[in-house]
């Protein structure tokens, strides 16, 4: 209907939950296929999430473009530690006054930690989306998934193209 034209992504949610609560840590050292990894470079998805690797763990957040598009974030629902998340599948939601937007996990793995501060004070995600407003940390089950993500330059070009379409 007319009224919902400008609303973004109030979607059906399919949650990939696993509530065993156990966080398994691999015994062997993971082999990373991306050489840029050692430099701890942020990688980006087309859904505007980023991931920053530190050894086997990745910290996930949303990009500046995403936080601006959402506007004031008033509610954050983040995946709990122990939850299994799947690449490209919704694992939580960020809500502004106008809409609920899904968080799509950039990688498959097990959640190690969520940013409780961001859940308690969701504005933190607007204020500091690359640092204090991170969303969750994940232990990757298949690090080769990182190969498909964009580097900063690629993502910037992608956003520029999107903005060009918008105007």
């Amino acid at each position: 209907m007319a009224s919902t034209v400008w609303r973004v992504g109030v979607a059906c949610f399919h949650r990939a939950t696993d509530v065993t609560g156990r966080i398994s840590r691999p015994t062997s050292r993971l082999r990373f296929s991306t050489s840029s990894f050692a430099l701890a470079e942020r990688l980006f998805t087309k859904k505007h999430e980023w991931i920053l690797m530190d050894k086997e763990e990745g910290t996930v957040g949303i990009t500046d473009y995403a936080q601006k598009a959402l506007g004031d974030i008033v509610f954050a629902q983040l995946p709990d530690p122990g939850n299994e998340v799947t690449k490209g599948v919704e694992c939580g939601a960020l809500e502004s006054v106008k809409a609920a937007s899904e968080i799509y996990s950039p990688v498959t793995g097990t959640v190690i930690e969520k940013n409780v501060a961001a859940e308690e004070k969701p504005q933190l995600i607007n204020k500091s989306c690359y640092k204090d407003g991170w969303l969750y940390k994940v232990h990757l089950s298949d690090p080769s998934e990182l190969d498909a993500l964009m580097k900063e330059k690629g993502y910037d070009d992608f956003v520029k193209a999107l903005q060009d379409e918008d105007h």
Binding site: M1, A2, S3, T4, V5, W6, R7, V10, F13, R15, G71, D72, V74, F75, Q77, A93, E95, S96, V97, K98, A99, A100, E165, D166, H167
Partner: protein, 431 residues
């Protein structure tokens, strides 16, 4: 010259050089969009249906609005210098201007105009005092709501009505057909739909509205209570000012010539009498929800009746006795015997309730569905409207809302969620 145009000119209603759209001539040619001719179009919708531009399109762009397609119009969602919450709270505290030129204005004239309007809506139009009006509902034969509208019974021999943009096409077809039927039965009624190239509509809403406008009107706004209208000049621009709105605040809607819309907005924004800012559709939606006002297409549609929508108060007392409006048998029967579902307000905690989310009772039994919802910037709680089974519609009833496979707790409450701040002009008489 058409008789209608003559009436309007005689009484000084502002019409542009090209007049307005006569329904029997070119009923749907409303607004050739300026943006279509010049500006770059948004990629997604450009090919199929070209979204139309209001007379303020360039003004919005130059004020850094984020433009979106809404009901076939390019409208500002919000402006870059304010977040939705900022804009919302600014309106509650100061005053905001909303471009609502996308809404369909129409003029109904002829000696049988009051009787005609009663034949398509639920209100007691005949007993509506001059220069005042009401929120009314156009109903269908099933008792469903075709659209909600504001009508004003002007003292100048015609009714001024404002219809929803999203319903404009079907409303114009519906009303043109009804007018033609009426004319065939020998009655005197005409309808003219104002074109957006000719006429703009601005909503100026917020507690500082009166002090900002007062500086530019000869008629004092003290004499213009809520739901009253006057044809006047504002900062030397001819316009119709109607005290009404969609925010719950004291406010007006100003119908002016399209060419005057931008200079009028600029004049109001430059006011030293109040803090005036532009506001977009996003704040308009959260404001109207706090005010408990329905959004057509979300909260009301052709499948719900005024009784189910908790809008029975729009049905005139005399109309309840006499009937004679479309769907009156169904609607009057419902008034007498009750309905199985009702629109209610719900306040909830946790994740915000949104349109389409299921509502259950505390045992988990489905009892209804959310039709609109958002986190309330004023209250800091989640507010929503829902249709629920009548036994669960009492204030205070505890309900659960299913949000992403989890239940959040809510409670049925009286609306508006935020008390209205309308101006009722106690001790003053309308001009």
């Amino acid at each position: 010259m058409s008789s209608l145009r003559r009436i309007l000119q005689k009484y000084g209603e502002t019409i542009g050089p090209r007049g307005f759209c006569r329904p029997n001539v070119k009923p749907l040619s409303v607004g050739v969009s300026r943006a279509n001719q010049t500006a770059k179009k948004p990629g997604k919708v450009a090919k199929e249906t070209k979204p139309k531009a209001t007379p303020l399109y360039d003004f919005h762009v130059s004020h850094k609005a984020k433009m979106v397609d809404f009901a076939g119009w390019q409208m500002p969602l919000l402006y870059e210098d304010q977040s939705i919450i900022d804009s919302h709270l600014h309106t509650r505290k100061h005053v905001s201007i909303f471009d609502v030129s996308h809404m369909q204005q129409a003029i109904v004239s002829g000696n049988d105009r009051l009787e005609f309007l009663e034949s398509v809506c639920v209100s007691d139009v005949k007993n509506c005092p001059e220069n005042s009006g009401q929120l009314s509902l156009l109903t269908n034969e099933k008792g469903g709501i075709i659209d909600d509208m504001i009508f004003m019974n002007t003292s100048r021999g015609y009714l001024h009505i404002v219809l929803n943009a999203g319903c404009a096409k079907k409303d114009m077809e519906h009303l043109s057909r009804k007018v033609a039927d009426y004319q065939r039965s020998g009655k005197a009624v005409q309808i003219a739909f104002l074109q957006s190239e000719e006429r703009a509509l601005l909503a100026v809403q917020g507690p500082e509205m009166a002090q900002v406008l007062e500086a530019g009107t000869s008629d004092s706004l003290i004499k213009l209570p809520f739901m009253h209208t006057t044809l006047t000049t504002l900062f030397n621009f001819k316009c119709r000012i109607t005290r009404c709105g969609y925010t719950g605040e004291d406010g007006v809607e100003i119908s002016c010539l399209a060419k005057d819309a931008t200079p009028l907005c600029e004049t109001l924004l430059a006011s030293s009498k109040g803090k005036v800012k532009m506001a977009g559709l996003a704040a308009r939606d959260s404001l109207r929800l706090e005010a408990g006002l329905c959004l057509y297409g979300n909260d009301i549609d052709e499948d719900v009746s005024p009784v189910e929508a908790a809008l029975s108060w729009t049905i005139g007392k005399r109309r309840r006795n006499e009937g004679g409006f479309p769907g009156s048998e169904v609607i009057l029967g419902q008034l007498k015997n009750g309905v199985s579902m009702k629109r209610v307000g719900i306040v909830s905690s946790g994740a915000p309730a949104r349109q389409g989310y299921p509502v259950t009772d505390q045992e988990g039994k489905p009892i209804g569905k959310i039709t609109s919802g958002c986190p309330s910037p004023t209250l800091g709680k989640n507010i929503s409207m829902a249709y629920v089974e009548t036994p669960s519609s009492k204030n205070g009833t505890k309900v659960n809302i299913r949000v992403r496979n989890q239940d959040v707790q809510g409670q049925v409450v009286k609306m508006p969620f935020v008390p209205a701040n309308y101006y009722h002009a106690k001790g003053h008489v309308a001009a």
